[in-house]
């Protein structure tokens, strides 16, 4: 009896201090509600873990795929650029290309998963309230787990190729983080567009394929800039990934950086694109449940 009363009272007190929620048309000036995002932090964690759990549980191939994909891609590039085209690099070509793919794949994997996140969770989006931005953000965790696996491989390669450990290594997570921020920034925009226009999902793989060659994954930025006529240079400078990949590879292997100014502006560019992505997503968000 007493405990029943206590339960009743605890609910009553809880009711007293709950804050008021106001539902109204969203003002054009509003931005992300960070307090609400914080309240839903557990959902972010659970969703992030779900994707990883499922991938690594369903298939033993899940892990093997993470290991072999960049290895295989780096091998093909080694044959193409190093053996056939005889492209010069400052460090052994194989770990050079592997590092490039590590970073580039982390970009494309987050971009692809973030882009699909709304459409894949249609039921959740149309039936339940939660800060939608959690869905595209949650995919980063999966990519980070993959990166952890492939960085173990990379350290194996460092030992195998007798690459020296440098102090710059401690900045590597920073560059990877910036690459993730850039990927999610783009992913926020594409996921919002995809709610209405599903065919973006067919365009994306083509762009990613193209980007493998257009971005300095298998060659160094310096090499490309020196070899190509100068009218091509805006093509690399405007691609925020070029600068970030360049600095990521510097941090791992001490390779030459084309231009530090470019690296810093790429980093700032990534942050700006992330903020634009958040703002665009936030603006489109109110229509999701009606359109999806």
């Amino acid at each position: 009896m007493l405990s029943a009363v206590r339960v009743h009272m605890s609910i009553a007190t809880r009711l007293q201090d709950t804050s008021e929620i106001i539902i109204q048309p969203r003002s054009k000036l509003s931005f992300l509600d960070f307090a609400e995002l914080w309240r839903y932090r557990d959902l972010l964690i659970v969703l992030a873990q779900r994707d990883v759990k499922l991938r690594y549980r369903q298939t033993a191939l899940g892990v093997i795929w993470v290991v072999f994909q960049p290895l295989l891609a780096a091998l093909i590039f080694t044959i193409l650029f190093n053996q056939i085209a005889k492209m010069p690099t400052e460090v052994p070509y194989f770990p050079f290309a592997f590092a490039g793919f590590m970073a580039y794949n982390s970009f494309t994997s987050t971009l692809t998963k973030a882009s699909n996140s709304m459409v894949q969770n249609t039921q959740m989006v149309s039936k339940i309230f939660f800060p939608r931005v959690i869905l595209p953000l949650s995919v980063i965790y999966g990519t980070l787990v993959d990166l952890a696996v492939s960085s173990i491989i990379f350290f194996g390669l460092m030992i195998f190729f007798h690459l020296p450990l440098t102090l710059s290594l401690i900045t590597a997570p920073l560059w990877l983080l910036l690459i993730q921020i850039l990927a999610v920034g783009f992913g926020l925009i594409t996921s919002a567009i995809m709610v209405q226009y599903r065919d973006i999902q067919y365009a994306l793989p083509v762009l990613i394929q193209f980007g493998t060659y257009a971005t300095p994954v298998g060659y160094s930025l310096t090499h490309a800039m020196n070899q190509l006529p100068s009218q091509w240079s805006p093509f690399f400078i405007l691609n925020p990934l070029s600068g970030l990949l360049d600095s990521f590879r510097w941090s791992l292997m001490g390779t030459h950086v084309y231009n530090w100014g470019l690296c810093i502006s790429s980093a700032l560019g990534a942050i700006v694109i992330f903020i634009i992505g958040l703002a665009y997503f936030h603006r489109m968000e109110t229509r999701f449940a009606d359109v999806i």
């Binding site: 609910i11 109204q24 959740m124 039936k127 309230f129 226009y197 449940a289």
Partner: protein, 420 residues
């Protein structure tokens, strides 16, 4: 807003834009091509107001039944209150967290175990990890012993019944101050439904507020103390639940004797099953709107099945004029159809009602097409047909009027002993 008002809606309106058929682009390619071909064309879309100027206040501890026909704006209102979509104009003030059971089991993943899904689903519904841990045992107890024994089994191996129990267990134990429930009690067996209704009672008694949407007038009447009647996007009336039900039943736009639907747009159903007609026939096969209590008659339901439907059944509620159910019956009573998958095609399910069953009065037939305990396909007032029963014998001659819901002819016996 008084201290006891937990929901206060002011001038809520919601407009949906309906693009015309030739303008509705689902791909960026189409949209782009259209723009290139017709560069100077302005947007040509129509606005549809699902809700207009809706105002109401709900007090703490109220259990409010929301009534209205399909298209009256019930689901739009619930979507706004549960914050899935924003209103076009107006403001709602809510005191406390809203838990919605618009769709139980959202976010459930077949590959995850029962335990993992509890955490997953709880988080989606807005619970923190701590809250879920605190409620965990209660959730499992609510879901029943069968689920309890399979907590670490992926839910893809669960039966549909277990799946629903677990999903409802999570949702029902959500610690929210305002709970929105839509038709979920429709699933599950009688015992489980009772459990759900009991849970709703507890929620209301602990001072929390419940919004309940159901076509089951009996349940609305039993559970709710207030009613909100929506009609064509506006609030027709708010008040004591019995009065609201009465008004709702009185304005029922059901038709007498027969209803049929030629087009897919208005016909109840979806891409799985769609109703074609519903009629009351006398023994000669003619449509009738009035039947004598002494005559047998048929209730004939025509429908089209568009994809193979395992365990499907066609059923109806026979409703009395006060909103209570006289009885429920289904064609799953036919043994040979019970576990048969119904292949696509046109079907007719006919229920023979014997003479001397119903007493005089006005009755309504409300269709329920479903896969029992899994999914409801059709279940609404819009599919209803009414008919009258008069006190007559088999030849249509008036006989003595009697009281009671039924007027069966029962086997009597008279034992007579002549006084010695």
């Amino acid at each position: 807003m008084s201290s006891d008002t937990v929901i206060s809606a002011r001038d809520i309106s919601k407009a949906y834009t309906i693009a015309h058929q030739d303008h509705h682009h689902t791909t960026a390619r189409e949209a782009l091509l259209h723009r290139l071909r017709h560069p100077f064309e302005g947007p040509r879309s129509e606005e549809f107001w699902a809700l207009s100027n809706v105002n109401f206040d709900i007090q703490r501890g109220d259990v409010v039944g929301i009534l209205g026909r399909n298209g009256a704006g019930k689901s739009t209102l619930l979507k706004i209150l549960s914050r899935i979509t924003t209103p076009t104009t107006g403001t709602v003030r809510l005191k406390g967290r809203v838990g919605s059971l618009l769709e139980v089991g959202t976010g459930f993943h077949p590959e995850l175990t029962g335990r993992e899904n509890i955490y997953m689903n709880g988080a989606i519904l807005g619970m923190t990890r701590k809250e879920i841990q605190r409620q965990f045992d209660e959730i499992v107890a609510f879901a029943g012993s069968q689920v309890e024994g399979h907590l670490d089994t992926p839910v893809k191996r669960y039966s549909s019944g277990m799946y629903v129990r677990l999903a409802f267990g999570v949702a029902a134990n959500l610690e929210s101050e305002i709970l929105i429930i839509d038709e979920v009690l429709a699933v599950g067996d009688g015992e489980f439904q009772k459990k759900c209704l009991g849970k709703m009672h507890n929620v209301a008694e602990s001072g929390r507020t419940v919004l309940f949407v159901s076509h089951n007038m009996g349940a609305v009447n039993a559970l709710c103390n207030r009613g909100l009647f929506l009609e064509r996007g506006t609030v027709k009336r708010v008040g004591v639940v019995s009065e609201i039900i009465e008004e709702y039943m009185a304005t029922s736009d059901s038709q007498e004797g027969i209803r049929y639907w030629n087009d897919d747009i208005n016909a109840p159903g979806d891409d799985r099953v769609i109703l074609r007609s519903l009629q009351v026939n006398n023994i000669n096969g003619n449509v009738i709107s009035t039947v004598g209590s002494g005559e047998p008659f048929d209730i004939r339901i025509s429908y089209e099945i568009r994809q193979p439907m395992p365990h499907f059944r066609m059923a109806f509620f026979l409703m009395c004029s006060d909103g209570s159910t006289a009885f429920f019956t289904s064609d799953a009573q036919i043994k040979e159809w019970q576990n048969k998958t119904r292949e696509p095609g046109i079907y007719e399910s006919i229920c023979h009602i014997p003479a001397n069953l119903l007493n005089e009065g006005k009755y309504g037939i409300m269709i329920k097409a479903d896969i029992p305990m899994v999914v409801n396909i059709i279940w609404d007032q819009d599919s209803s047909v009414t008919f009258n029963v008069e006190r007559t014998n088999f030849n249509g001659e008036p006989i003595e009027r009697v009281a009671g819901a039924v007027c069966p002819v029962l086997p009597w016996e008279i034992i007579f002993n002549k006084k010695k």
